[in-house]
Symmetry: C2
Subunit: 435 residues, 2 copies
Amino acid sequence: MQDPMPNAFRPGATALPEGEAALVARRQAALGPAYRLFYEHPLHLVRGEGVWLYDAGGRAYLDTYNNVASCGHCHPRIVAAMAEQAGLFASHTRYLHDRVLTLAERLLGTMPAEMGHVMFTCTGSEANDLALRIARAATGGTGVIVTENAYHGVTASVAEFSPSLGSGVPLGPHVRTVPPPDPRRFAGDSAQGFADAVQAAIDDLNRHGIRPAVLIVDTIFSSDGVFADPTGVLGPAVAAIRAAGGIFIADEVQPGFGRTGAGMWGFSRHGIVPDMISMGKPMGNGYPLAALALRPEVIAEFGQNARYFNTFGGNAVAAAVGNAVLDVIADEGLIENARTVGAGFADTLRDLARQYAGLGQVRAAGLFLGVDVETDGHPDGARAGRLVNGLREEGVLISATGPKGHVLKIRPPLTFSADNVAFFAERLERVLRRG
Amino acid sequence: MQDPMPNAFRPGATALPEGEAALVARRQAALGPAYRLFYEHPLHLVRGEGVWLYDAGGRAYLDTYNNVASCGHCHPRIVAAMAEQAGLFASHTRYLHDRVLTLAERLLGTMPAEMGHVMFTCTGSEANDLALRIARAATGGTGVIVTENAYHGVTASVAEFSPSLGSGVPLGPHVRTVPPPDPRRFAGDSAQGFADAVQAAIDDLNRHGIRPAVLIVDTIFSSDGVFADPTGVLGPAVAAIRAAGGIFIADEVQPGFGRTGAGMWGFSRHGIVPDMISMGKPMGNGYPLAALALRPEVIAEFGQNARYFNTFGGNAVAAAVGNAVLDVIADEGLIENARTVGAGFADTLRDLARQYAGLGQVRAAGLFLGVDVETDGHPDGARAGRLVNGLREEGVLISATGPKGHVLKIRPPLTFSADNVAFFAERLERVLRRG
């Protein structure tokens, strides 16, 4: 049996209104047993605008969870760019088209000069899967090192190094896990502690005759529980994987595109330059668009032996959408907004944590926030689940994460305002007061 | 070194006009060495409408190659459905939404009653990758049997059973290949010959201690060279893989959605019911949308141990687009059109093959056509390449396929007309007359 997913609906556990029960039944019949809904009482959403979502009855919910619609739900400028290009031409990358080149060049312009190329896919899973293929060719190795509760995607090869999918999805024999750089896990220097753990994983791979290929981390450790600080924690580990002949991949699918408020990419907070950078979710604000940026020397071997074509990846509509997202991030000052509003949001949550025993440590970078939920100082996933469901009843959407499901995961659109923070805090306090 | 791709542009081999040379240079810099362009003289396309594409200079090209825009380029009804839903809400599948259920139910309505569920992805590669994960869980095996020059996708796991990617992309140790059901390859009964080859592959897997999991075929054998006839050729092979404890996957990414003119799916021409059906390319007429349909018993084990979530797969916009594509196929009579226009197209090509020694056997089902190009009765990939490039200069787009690149691959939008066939034939004859 699989491990439970945080905040998953359990069919039969809640009595649902007739219309929703019918939708749930249709869904189980049509989509089958591998799909999961959120919440004890699933949401039937029909409309989105900015930071707000609306259910079929017209009730509004403050969306502080969906990190795909980072520019706000249904952003008119992005929808218009998509519709315009879709009405004109949806090429693929075996014809010349300038929009995909412009997008690649603009993305490279946000990255360190060492990054030379961008390859386009449709999903973050595909980007990490392609990264694995390229890394194997570049290193001659197969070993992969990830954090304990990492999530990197759902292809067969990437699921093998995504431990957060649960014990029903086995890790590959070539995969080793390390603790995330949570200062509470290491005596003293987190950077050195993390690097020591990576070195031990390298040694263990080598001891088994497996050549290390990759260290890949989500640079804010989202599914491990959101570990934003200290910054600068990755350098020694990156040096260790390179010394072992492997390469370092920054998975920016969650922290990327300005969410941390400290520039476009989460890795820059750690003062390192990756060998490859994968990106996805917010890249198309809802349109299926993802990519892999890389140093030219990393792709040399793969490029000599193989070609890459993704039918929809980098098509002209995807490129138009990607460019519009970059325009909106710049023109609306979303990175600066993530920084300032995020800082206020973290302060507000820390104030609440001082008042309510159920809330523990608050960790945040920009508008990516994690809050430990505890009982008597111990992680309490069930209590986190009650808070998440209580907030849903109060019109606020978040979720929980971490190996014990005890970390509130808060990732609103980057257009979030101080008023939205106040609304969130007022509703959270209502729920906390109930216990 | 990799094998050459049919109809690939070789940088430096052709002198290009200044503007195009600049685009090619930007592209090599931005996208890197693994990307390929079509044609000796690459096309810079900027607009599409119906069966026509237009380059930056305004020249029109008859598109008889792109099997994504099967309803015609930039179909207004499909673009409108996309724009409307994108402006309203782009949910994912962890909230209730009826459009994705409607799409799943409508797709199941086009399939044999044995098929029970549909799971949504963004690309055909992801659909086949998910099929592999499910098949491994269902069978306890890992062995995969494919045709000699099959293409099923580009994820790390699917590339391992896509021999058409060339010798630079190694097949997995658990992969065996069989000849496609080309009657010229088998003495006597093609169905039995194909089944015998599959049985030999099963035996060889077992001899190596590898339990067979999957026989997967593109039901028109596109990249093997387009083998449309005889029909009814798959039954004994499907029985063989099932008897060995494996399952049969029909890859409908290329033949599906009415292209064969004999119903929605290519497998139905062979009188069998698959265990899983993967689909993609034309499903969203350009929007990244793909899926996997399956018998409920196949997903039981996977559903117990694992969950599946694809951030963009089955989102409300994807579902709106998929429903619009089904509407257009039905309301515009595209399957019937593929049948009648395709039959005329095949007759026309056979007439030409009688007149010009360079054209050999014509194989076709609906608007999926393959034509052997030969010299003195032997396959001639170089000559096919000259025809493809000659047609491009005459304003007609096709490509070449097959292990020797000698098969003209013709797959126009399903809105193709008899006039379009006449235009194609006139231009092809111009090129053939030149030698």
